[in-house]
């Protein structure tokens, strides 16, 4: 017996077209707080990462304010992402069919999903984004505290701070790349963005991309 792919709050409404509830208002607010913090962190972080983008400090009121505010936005992101993590982790647990999906990534990229096993609430790509972001954010907050000199400068050695600043930079770059994949997928797969704005998708979208989730919703399995 496989697990139910349904989250509390998911629902299906008959009609033409069928409308499916995918994200509750709480999940959406949680997502957009995380999204806004991540964008602000990327902008302020890149400003301090490379002189070519130092001008971005202007968005935050200058270099010193950017330096001061960046770690605090990081705290907001971390707390907010924790919320997302506990909301979403269960249906992001890896299953055997995810390996099949990954091995046929070529078909996915060619918009030819028909031959793939039916997907639950999340496909393997979404799960990889979820787990890599979870790991990256954990590394970012940890290394970030080590280089948050305003409050923690006395707790770490200079050598530890050197390692932390390099780890923080590299991890942030990877996180930005994962973020690009996430945003691109939402644009490329049309009909997706409504899930995070109105909380709803059409039945056709669910049938096409997350058929197992739709079946579980319709049969009331939970």
């Amino acid at each position: 017996m496989s697990r139910s792919e349904v989250d509390p709050g998911d629902g299906v409404h008959r009609g033409k077209p069928v409308i499916v509830d995918r994200y509750s208002a709480g999940a959406r607010v949680n997502h957009w707080i995380t999204a806004a913090s991540l964008v602000l962190l990327a902008l302020s972080g890149l400003a301090l990462f490379t002189p070519a983008l130092y001008f971005l400090t202007g968005l935050f009121g200058g270099g010193a304010t950017t330096r001061m505010i960046h770690p605090w936005i990081g705290v907001v992101l971390f707390v907010s992402f924790m919320g997302l993590f506990f909301r979403f982790y269960r249906l992001n647990l890896w299953e055997r069919n995810d390996n099949v999906w990954l091995s046929r990534l070529r078909d996915v990229l060619a918009n030819d999903e028909g031959k793939l096993p039916e997907v639950g609430k999340y496909n393997a790509g979404q799960k990889m984004v979820f787990w890599s972001m979870s790991l990256l954010i954990l590394v970012l907050i940890t290394s970030g505290v080590v280089i948050w000199d305003q409050y923690f400068s006395n707790y770490f050695t200079i050598d530890q701070k050197r390692v932390a600043v390099l780890v923080h930079s590299v991890t942030a770059i990877v996180a930005i790349c994962v973020w690009i994949v996430h945003v691109y997928a939402a644009i490329w797969v049309r009909g997706t963005i409504g899930a995070m704005t109105r909380g709803q998708v059409t039945g056709g979208w669910a049938w096409r991309h997350h058929r197992k989730w739709l079946r579980d919703l319709v049969t009331g399995k939970n």
Binding site: A52, R67, S169, V181, V189, G203
Partner: protein
């Protein structure tokens, strides 16, 4: 005796160097001057130091700094470390020389070494917050400093300190303001034994040679000059009785270099990182151009309707 720096005229004179003499500027580029000024240097002869701390006092006086009243824990070092107000510090080491059986009191005046290849400047993300003049002075420009502490990570000598009061980085300026009008650094002026002398870098090397010969004749066979090549040489140099063991002088680094971690962070990471972000964005555009949007079809919608209606 080394000829002391003469007192300059009391009449106003134009500055001997300025903006136009910058050879490096943090997080930005400068057009280097056509002609480099004569490199200057401060030579600290540890063997002549009597530990009077006149240099520390002169530094506080000239730079209008006040150190907090500290706590005596049974050592002469006061304060216990460099701070945002203490830009130079006498560090006292009791060294038992196994060879001679003597107890030697090694007193090293710690402070910015004014590296030819400054790690602080390399690490700094704020354009123009750290500058290097062609005469060798490395200086912090406080109205551009953002207080990130990257200079602390870049420095191989653990010198810069971030002020708790204004969150900006502070260190020895080599008395850039005195040098600009032809005076020597305040610490040098105050030193009663000429343990600190100041002049051009060549003069200082020559004077160091003379001092090293003297020390060798007195049995310090490893006496030598500390001008570490790992940072391209420095504009503050030491004459050490035991130049083969700099670490006995309150952990003076044996072969200081900018940490390879800092070099990687400020070097390849910067370019590879931006390239990776650009590549991901480009792949996105290319994929969309080639594969096109993934759209839900009418048939998908009908299938969903049939499923919900139980057909």
């Amino acid at each position: 005796m080394f000829k002391p720096v003469a007192n300059p005229t009391t009449k106003p004179t134009p500055a001997l160097f300025g903006e136009q003499d910058l050879i490096r500027r943090s997080a930005s580029s400068v057009t280097p001057p056509a002609k480099r000024q004569t490199e200057v240097a401060k030579l600290i002869d540890v063997s002549k130091c009597i530990g009077c701390k006149a240099c520390q006092v002169a530094c506080l006086e000239w730079n209008n700094l006040t150190e907090e009243v500290g706590v005596n824990v049974g050592v002469y070092d006061n304060p216990h470390d460099l701070t945002e107000n203490t830009w130079t510090l006498m560090r006292y080491t009791e060294y038992e020389n196994a060879e001679s059986g003597n107890l030697e009191w090694l007193i090293r005046k710690d402070g910015c070494m004014h590296c030819e290849d400054p790690g602080c400047l390399k690490a700094c993300p704020a354009p123009g917050a750290i500058v290097q003049y062609s005469n060798g002075i490395v200086d912090f420009v406080h109205d551009k400093c953002i207080g990130c502490g990257y200079c602390v990570k870049g420095c191989p000598f653990n010198i810069p300190r971030i002020s708790k009061a204004d969150s900006k980085a502070y260190k020895c300026t080599l008395c850039v303001d005195r040098l600009a009008v032809g005076q020597g650094p305040a610490c040098q002026k105050a030193c009663p034994t000429q343990a600190i002398v100041f002049g051009t870098k060549d003069e200082m090397k020559q004077w160091a040679d003379h001092r090293i010969k003297d020390l060798k004749s007195r049995g310090f066979k490893n006496a030598g000059l500390y001008d570490p090549p790992g940072v391209g040489g420095t504009h503050v140099m030491y004459v050490l009785q035991h130049a083969d063991k700099p670490q006995i002088y309150a952990s003076l680094p044996n072969n200081p270099t900018i940490s390879p971690i800092v070099e990687i962070w400020k070097g390849v990471t910067k370019y590879a990182g931006l390239a990776a972000i650009g590549a991901f964005a480009a792949i996105g555009f290319l994929h969309h151009a080639v594969a096109g949007a993934n759209r839900v079809s009418e048939e998908d919608e009908r299938n969903a309707e049939r499923l919900t209606e139980g057909k």
